[in-house]
Symmetry: C2
């Protein structure tokens, strides 16, 4: 199987590094991709589940833009709804009527939601959720999960990160995932001081296996929140609409007070949402929350169309099925080649790694060998499935995986190889 | 002159209030518009300097979507550049090459800028600027201006606002605008502790006159920052590119270390930028900074096209000229009708109020009478000029103003009226 080269990506990155700190900053940074010469850095165009990079390589994309792509790049249904709204108007002197339509739709879809508010970033709504919890309770402290990611605001990044000061994090109490006893302990040690508990529906850190909630975990957290008047915030930014169209909390059998949505909401059009219970509507109204582009009508029209498509396609089942077929097929190929591939998380957002590889070097090589053959795999982050991934994509991906394992076998230490 | 009614806006708002806290939240909230029955709440479509609301009323828009509209609604040049990029791809598995092009363009245009980074909200880049200043200096405290607005993060909103806790603001020291002595005092009281100084290029609070920098103000601030190793951050979100295409700091004759851009950058497409000096590039690279849609290529393509158009049109001069003609004409009409209209700030972003009106009730009535006749004026916020406002818009607006003053004269206390 021929392998790609990424020389134009490399050249453009050299130009970028002169005028952009890190060349590419944040979660798209090539610093996470090992070896970086095996990865595309710049996308020229996208269609369906694939994008073509600046070197002309076509890649089956399992990052899905790290989540936003849920129906396929340049999805016609969403793009047409967006185009109709754009032809009328986008960022205007007043919001479009579609803002009301979208709020009504989210309230209809999400059983616990009495209201919705819109912003741009996932981090806009996680930060706002904390402020609503504090406004509602008159308390300061927030319990969060060790290694949990909620965005880049200083409170989220945590102590020791560059630019974060003690005051940013002194009211954030981190406890391990799945540790009800730790929450009980924190509640006892901080009587009447805990405003909110924030976590993702299941634990999906980077560079580590995902962990589902233990049996009864969320039930216990919900009970403790009720007992102590704590606002239960679910950060559904990453897995929202990839587990259930009624919210990931419903999937795991519990009811949050606030939930944050973003990535899969509008198939890449920039919008996030906070939804909440009726009891918190007054607190939400009190906290000032706004941004220059938050009334932009096009992403709202795109979100309405995207949610309708997700319903029409029974999207979570479709993505779970595809994820199962992909990771199952990959595990069989790993077995054939004498490797063990560990799959964690949920099938629509699997985290994969080769076992007996504590340095992750083998898994990194595996992902890079797949990417060089046209299946864009990241080694440190959960992948995302979309409704646009086809049987042809699956067949092609499994052929790539087979060939990549063969390349690993030929050169297990990374010398030479393909 | 016929006056508009806004019944469909009112009806839609009633529906909205059921599913959105405040009905419309944030700076678009009708809570600021007095009386609210005289204002459009929802925009159906926009063209040039005008939008048409859900009641079919056409309004000459002096909010310009509170800043983002700088070339006119549905500007063909920007929209075509955006459409070309969209046809290729938007939010993809990697950034588009246009990210590099845009960074190079901003570095070229802004004389102090050695690099640029992109986000969505103005508040993304003001928060990030603080983190960069703290990372660069190893210090905690930030000096900001009383009444200065930098977004909705808790540190910006200030003590006493709903959802804000002491720890959010304990390292933000607020001093009055134009008060060099206060900055000297804060530096003396906090030796080696001040990481950054953040302010807008001139002071443009809400519900109060704008204030330009005193002669020598910025020169003194720059000197003090240099002497004490303080990072000078200019929040150019609101007036960026409406004063100078080389940055508002250049307009006022000083050089910042970091500057924040947003509103006028892409004519309503959602993007913000932090630009900075070469000395801070390393600190900027260290602070983790990212978001789900920050690599979206369409707003970057729109920004490139928008900046080119701003250059081609000599946009700041054009907006300053229009603003002078508008406010000068309005002052002459005020005089004719026996009122005094005070104009402050800069002509491209004027803040207006009728004098001898401490409760602002008369000015609020004046703005509502104008809006009911088709010139959308807000009473509490500076207005924005755009390159799309035409001589016809000006003539029509002045006719409206004349008629509105006549209505005020007929019913100075607000009883009856038009």
């Amino acid at each position: 199987m021929d392998t790609y080269s990424f020389t134009k990506s490399q050249e453009l990155f050299v130009r970028a590094a002169k005028v952009i700190p890190c060349g590419i900053n944040g979660h798209f940074s090539p610093a996470m991709l090992v070896p970086p010469t095996s990865y595309p850095f710049y996308a020229e165009r996208g269609r369906g589940a694939r994008f073509t990079d600046v070197d002309g390589n076509e890649l089956i994309d399992y990052t899905c833009a790290y989540g936003p792509m849920v129906l396929g790049y340049n999805n016609e249904v969403v793009d047409e709804a967006a185009a109709r709204q754009r032809e009328a108007g986008d960022t205007m002197g007043a919001p479009g009527p579609v803002m009301v339509e979208l709020a009504e739709k989210m309230v209809d879809m999400l059983p616990f939601a009495a209201w919705a508010l819109f912003a741009k970033n996932g981090g806009d709504v996680t930060s706002y959720a904390l402020m609503v919890a504090r406004a509602a309770t008159g308390r300061k402290k927030i319990v969060a999960i060790q290694g949990g990611y909620h965005g880049v605001a200083a409170w989220m990044q945590g102590a020791g990160h560059h630019g974060v000061i003690d005051a940013d994090v002194e009211n954030i109490v981190r406890i391990p995932w799945n540790d009800v006893a730790a929450f009980v302990r924190v509640l006892a040690e901080n009587p009447g001081q805990i405003a909110g508990f924030i976590a993702t529906p299941y634990h999906h850190p980077t560079f580590a296996d995902s962990e589902l909630p233990d049996q009864g975990y969320w039930e216990s957290i919900r009970e403790l929140c009720d007992k102590h008047g704590v606002v239960l915030i679910v950060d559904d930014v990453r897995c929202g609409f990839r587990l259930s169209l009624r919210g990931s909390a419903e999937f795991f059998g519990f009811t949050p007070d606030l939930a944050c949505y973003c990535k899969a909401l509008a198939n890449g059009y920039p919008i996030s949402a906070l939804v909440g219970s009726d009891a918190l509507k007054g607190a939400a109204a009190k906290v000032f929350f706004t941004g220059s582009y938050w009334y932009q009508a096009v992403p709202m029209a795109a979100a309405v169309a995207c949610l309708d498509e997700l319903v029409r396609l029974d999207a979570p089942k479709r993505m779970q099925d595809f994820g199962r077929a992909l990771t199952g097929g990959m595990q069989r190929l790993a077995d054939k080649h004498g490797y063990e591939l560990r799959v964690s998380g949920v099938p629509s957002m699997p985290y994969l790694r080769l076992t007996d590889d504590p340095s992750l070097m083998l898994h990194q090589r595996f992902c890079s060998e797949c990417t060089r053959r046209g299946a864009y795999f990241t080694s440190h982050h959960n992948w995302f499935m979309s409704c646009a991934h086809t049987q042809e994509d699956l067949d092609r991906t499994l052929a790539i995986v087979d060939d990549a394992f063969a390349a690993l076998e030929k050169s297990p230490e990374g010398q030479g190889g393909s």
